[in-house]
Amino acid sequence: MFISMFGAVESGIIYALMALGVYLSFRVLDFPDLTVDGSFVTGGAVAAISIINGVPPILATLLAAIAGFIAGSITGILNTKGKINPLLSGILMMIALYSINLRIMGRPNLPLLNESTIFNSIESFWEKVGIDQALNGLVGVMGAERLPSTWSVLILMIIVTIIVKLMTDFYLRTEVGLALRATGDNEKMIRSLSANTDNLKITGLGISNSLVALSGALVSQYGGFADLSMGIGMIVIGLASVIIGEALFGKKTIARTTLAVIGGAIVYRIVVTLALRVDFLETGDMKFITASLVIIALVAPRMISARKEQKRRYRKQLALNNKAKEA
């Protein structure tokens, strides 16, 4: 149990970067960007092919993020300069990326088994530090039977994700960031305040997809392969994380919301892991579980608040009736 939860949190926090990207397009820019399904694979593909060709893993991961930025910008250009509907721009880009990703990889699947990745290169350094023994000792005392082989992935990813989160928070509070948020909130208004909304959308989608590609690059290194189909349904997983996170952890401020999105990505993985432990569910049912989760996260909060409202009204009426009785 502990080991599967550990794995869920570990992969949840890697996918959290993708969820932050989806948050930027879907919530901040109010742009339902389907490029994500393609750019996630682009990230994995660029990182994998670079590593296989001897590029240092960190550089390969950065190249992946740049490739994602380019993909997102093109979606933005299609929408703003080509005047193509947002949804359609994303779909077109997603389909085009399918072929481009295949070209980048050369074949549908690239294994990274004996290559050095970000994770295994940090592991060798990590082992010397001896934190694993300490942490494993701790959870061992708490009663976990099987222990994770390394904590390095989790801790590295926590650090990376927090850095990305803080940078996103900062960016969204800058003058440019405020204009970006206003572009999604009231485009006419921010244009009358001399902001170039076309450029803002293009860079916004670029940044969003660079985070998605970054996540794809890390996922492929974590899993030890890049696969052409690894991006299918990624946008829905991203949306699930954003929506679950906002519903569970709130969205009062920007900093709170980005943290909620990360939390949402982790909760999503945990729920999926738990669901797959149910006997009659199979791995193939994962997409169905995801879709159900999104539906629940969208509908449940509304139902809960409607119920609260009903109760409140009922109490008010009751109080009024009691008053009438007394009088």
């Binding site: 509070r173 003058e175 405020l178 948020r181 921010i190 305040l193 902001a195 909304t197």
Partner: protein, 264 residues
Amino acid sequence: MLHLNDISLTFNEDTPDEKKALQDIDLTLEKGDFVTVIGSNGAGKSTLMNVISGSLKPDIGTVKIDDKNVTPLPEFRRSNYIGRVFQDPMAGTAPSMTIEENLAMAYARNKKRMLRIGVNKKRRELFREYLLTLNLGLEDRLNAKVGLLSGGERQALSLLMATFTEPNILLLDEHTAALDPSRAELITKLTGDVVDRFHLTTLMVTHNMQQALDLGNRLVMMDKGQIIFDVSGIEKQNLTIEKLLHEFKRIRGEQLVNDRAVLG
């Protein structure tokens, strides 16, 4: 300050729906002029506004601001010189962002937007001071989302946002039309105050004749895409609604058919 030269604009040219929205408009505003524009629906007032702001391009003619030809500039570049308040109180502010964030965006209107924090301590103080002039208590609600404000409060905030950076030109597009009478009166008063305070060169479109008479030093009447009447100074001060209606009849030889205009 603002110079419109021979502006013409026709919509749906060469179709049965052809509409000459503006015909040979010549209009010059001196620095500090406050011009009110009246006219019935479809007279071309809003089109004129949109041509000045850059959201519409004229078929022919030029728009100059401070002797600089801005005709080819897109809307967002022209907004460096132009502050604008729309008719819809929801249009001038971003609802899911806070009051101070909205002001910060307006503050950056005539500057280059950078990667530095939009609302810092110094600016917050500045915003508070400006909000005090509205007398609506908004200075204590800097972190409130603008979507929570009432229509009147939002329009007052829009007005402040359009003006406190002292634009070369202020465009007011029926900005009190969607408010109830008491709020409209408040915004009208604030408009007068703010224009005086910053000596703004202003063009205000209105359906409300009384408002057009009360505010500004010059009045322009439009009909069918043309400027048919233009008064300023003492002559404008002595105008009344009756005189205006009479004037319209004299020039056009027909009654001004507009209930809203007459009742206002």
